[in-house]
């Protein structure tokens, strides 16, 4: 197989992009206490131009994270609370007739933004979920037959509550596959939680989220440039092959009812590139693939009921797979 020829990222480009990403991470870290891994994963997905599914109980700072990220590049932010009666037009927008002018006018929905927080996505009906997932996949919204492109960068951060399953519409596997990463947010440590409480209550009225400490470090155009830089980082054939072997192993693994599809391998390489940039490298190593394998693949696997009954999680299976699949060497 021949290497795909791309314009190699120069050292100057790499240094500039790396410094910019480091600044973004630093700025987000000013208001999001702890959760370094989750912040990094959201940044990875943002740099790789993907969407994330966040699983965690309410109150762990998901909205704050998105607000802070949007502020780092001066982007727009919208939030939709998904409920069973939410209609697709409530997300995408609709056309209204204006009597004064006698014309139809497009009233844009919250999806016309840069960062969209879809809270508790599994509470909406399959029809509304599908409408959002179409937006995510195509990057455009079609209303009354007219397609409108979303202004890049666009990223959806959908959340799910792992505890309350009653009255929910679980996302089908095909739709889960559209998310680049699935991030599991856990409770902060004692010190982190104490700092959060101190930060939120010191001299403030009410529980408003405060992100004024975050300074914009780049523009939306510069974010697009970052994404283009990520897409051009060097990935050798054997590293790509390593990613593919991991994905294929998920299909052959005992106890896995359905493994990851080809989109799993593609996502692995995309996110590994972003990871390399985050570490200031212009090339992807097997370490990058391995490091991002869990968030990239955990929602693309379906375990057999026997394994689920035994309490085995997809993360356990993926760790075993990563231990088994040989890393490439020259």
């Amino acid at each position: 197989m021949s290497e795909v020829q791309v314009v190699v990222v120069t050292d100057e480009e790499l240094a500039r992009a790396s410094a910019r990403v480091a600044r973004m991470r630093e700025e987000v870290g000013r208001v999001v206490i702890g959760q370094a891994e989750e912040v990094e994963q959201v940044l990875l997905a943002f740099l790789a131009g993907g969407h994330v599914l966040i699983e965690g109980v309410p109150g762990l700072g998901k909205t704050l994270l998105v607000l802070a990220l949007a502020r780092t590049f001066g982007g727009k932010f919208a939030r939709v609370q998904f409920t069973p009666d939410l209609m697709p037009s409530d997300v995408t927008g609709h056309v209204v007739y204006e009597g004064a002018s006698g014309t139809f006018r497009l009233r844009k929905g919250p999806a016309f933004t840069n960062l969209l927080l879809a809270d508790e996505i599994n509470r909406a009906s399959a029809k509304t979920q599908s409408a959002l997932l179409e937006v995510m996949q195509e990057g455009q919204i079609t209303i009354e037959g007219e397609a409108t492109k979303l202004a890049p960068p666009f990223m959806t951060l959908a959340t799910q509550n792992p505890i309350e399953q009653e009255g929910t519409y679980p996302l089908p596997e095909a739709q889960l596959d559209r998310f680049l990463l699935k991030i599991v947010v856990d409770y902060p440590s004692l010190d982190e939680e104490a700092r959060i409480v101190e930060l939120v209550t010191a001299g403030r009225i009410g529980g408003q989220l405060e992100v004024s400490a975050v300074q914009p470090v780049c523009t939306a155009d510069e974010v697009l440039e970052l994404q283009r830089t990520v897409a051009r980082l060097t990935v050798l054939e054997r590293v790509r092959e390593y990613a593919v072997r991991i994905v294929r192993e998920t299909r052959a693994w005992r106890g896995v009812a359905m493994g990851a599809g080809p989109r799993g391998g593609i996502s692995l390489v995309r996110v590994a590139r972003a990871k390399a940039l985050l570490e200031g490298r212009g090339f992807v190593t097997p370490d990058d693939i391995k490091a991002v394998a869990l968030p990239v693949l955990r929602h693309r696997l379906t375990l057999a009921p026997e394994l689920e009954l035994e309490g085995v999680t997809t993360d356990d299976v993926l760790r075993s797979i990563l231990q088994k699949v040989e890393a490439p060497r020259e």
């Binding site: 090339f283 992807v284 990563l322 040989e326 020259e330």
Partner: protein
């Protein structure tokens, strides 16, 4: 020993009936037995289990002390059997001296006898010592050791079963947030599991199961002991005769007045009878002869001539048929004795090795043998045999670098470090390990300078291998030069 004071119904019993008798003893005298057990045995067990860091060492020491500890219920039951159920004060006053007297024999001798529950009452109750005691033990073992071994096996299995079930029950009802982290087991790291409070709970579960089974085992042995003595010494027959004698004496006492009156009234008649018998002296002898003939006739009757044929398998070396129904487990006993000795030797060797290792006289690598006898020749597809590498890897890498072969130079350095670390057993990478995993493994060796060097070599190697570029000359040449500093010193 005052047999007439015995409070049990003595009769020949089978082994199973002896177990029933042990259970009956526990039901009758449970309060006194458990009180003595709680005061004398439980503190010792708790001391060993909670004070010693090593659970295995604590269990081993308690296993050695078992014959001694199990004398406590036997002491209480033996006193109660002869009508003097001891109070806790009496037990605390009398028993410790006895236990001290028998401590050495219990640990050195009885510990290795699977049928010890049968013979330890001899030492405790009969007070015999030396050869005399051994002869008594042999007498009791003749047909009772099989049942004692069976009882020991049964109670050991019951104890293990109770312990496992109790532990599992505890595990299942432990909330997941309190449960110990067993994830290191997935990596085969048995030492990395920290059981914490669960280990203490498991020790208490074991103590509970031992308390239930140890007491019953000791009482079963005592019941077998009583049974053997009844068989061999006819205790039951002696008691029956004593009861008959007592009843006869009672009858005689009640009838003494009547007898006196009868004597006065019937004396003249008796004298007349005497005179008559004196006149016919030869008549009594034929009557005695008739009685002997009658006895012979009776014995010749078909009821006494019935013969019965029993068929059973017997081992070749058995001297004669054993028709008393008792299962002879002499061979099993010898096998168990051999296994016991083998276990003792293995444990002693283990303890010696442990002590030597703690003292630093044995290297860790010598105790935990490497995964394979020979180091692997290829790892991750790289040839790591020492003979495949040049003698002076640093110099050769420097030559390659100066000749413009950056990938070859850094690859040689990386391969060389891997080869040296694998050859010395310091590194054993898994197939799925990446470069960073190897760096992490070397970092865990607590050799800071080597870890830093390996991390630097890996970084340079990654640049060459995955970016189609090369590290700067200064970095690469410094690594080539540093090779000698690290591995020449390693070699020396």
């Amino acid at each position: 020993m005052q047999l007439e004071r015995i409070s049990l119904a003595l009769r020949p019993r089978t082994g199973h009936e002896c177990l029933d008798l042990a259970a009956a003893m526990l039901r009758s005298w449970g309060g006194a037995i458990f009180a003595a057990w709680a005061v004398l045995v439980l503190p010792v067990c708790l001391l060993f289990l909670l004070a010693l860091d090593s659970a295995w060492l604590a269990l081993f020491l308690l296993w050695m002390l078992r014959p001694l500890l199990e004398l406590v219920p036997v002491f209480v039951a033996s006193r109660a059997t002869f009508g003097a159920l001891p109070t806790l004060q009496v037990t605390l006053r009398d028993l410790p001296r006895t236990l001290l007297r028998l401590a050495l024999a219990c640990v050195v001798r009885y510990r290795w006898m699977p049928w010890r529950a049968l013979v330890t009452p001899i030492a405790l109750l009969e007070g015999s010592t030396g050869r005399k005691r051994q002869e008594r033990e042999r007498e009791l073992q003749t047909s009772g050791s099989g049942d004692a071994v069976l009882a020991a096996c049964f109670f050991l299995a019951l104890e293990v079963s109770l312990f496992v079930q109790g532990s599992l029950l505890l595990w299942f009802f432990t909330p997941s947030e309190l449960a110990p982290d067993l994830s290191p087991l997935e990596d085969g790291d048995f030492g990395g599991v920290q059981l914490g409070w669960f280990a203490v709970a498991m020790k208490l579960v074991w103590l509970a199961s031992y308390s239930a089974c140890g007491i019953l085992h000791a009482l079963a042995g005592f019941a077998l002991y009583l049974n053997q003595r009844s068989r061999l010494e006819g205790w039951d027959v002696e008691l029956a005769f004593r009861r008959l004698g007592a009843r006869a004496a009672q009858v005689l006492r009640r009838g003494s007045v009547v007898a006196a009156l009868a004597f006065v009234l019937l004396l003249p008649l008796a004298r007349a009878q005497e005179a008559t018998e004196a006149a016919q002296p030869a008549a009594a002898a034929p009557q005695q002869q008739d009685a002997a003939e009658v006895a012979r006739d009776i014995l010749a009757h078909e009821d006494f001539a019935t013969s019965e044929t029993r068929t059973r398998f017997r081992l070749r070396w058995e001297s004669g048929p054993n028709l008393d129904g008792a299962l002879d487990l002499g061979v099993v006993a010898y096998v168990l004795q051999f296994l016991g000795w083998a276990l003792l030797v293995a444990l002693l060797v283990g303890i010696v090795v442990l002590i030597l290792r703690k003292a630093g006289l044995i290297e860790w690598q010598a105790v935990t043998a490497p995964r394979s006898a020979l180091p692997p020749t290829h790892v991750f597809g790289l040839d790591v045999r020492p003979e495949s590498l040049p003698d002076d890897i640093g110099a050769r890498a420097r030559e390659l670098w100066l000749a413009g072969d950056a990938t070859g130079a850094m690859g040689l350095l990386y391969r060389g470090v891997l080869s040296r670390l694998i050859a010395t057993g310091a590194l054993a990478p898994d197939p799925g390990d990446t470069e960073r995993d190897c760096v992490e493994r070397v970092r865990r060796l607590d050799r800071v300078d080597l870890a830093g060097f390996f991390a630097a070599v890996t970084s340079a190697w990654l640049v060459c291998a995955y970016s189609r570029t090369r590290p700067d000359d200064a970095t690469a040449l410094a690594l080539c030069d540093a090779w000698g500093q690290h591995f020449r010193r390693e070699a020396s």
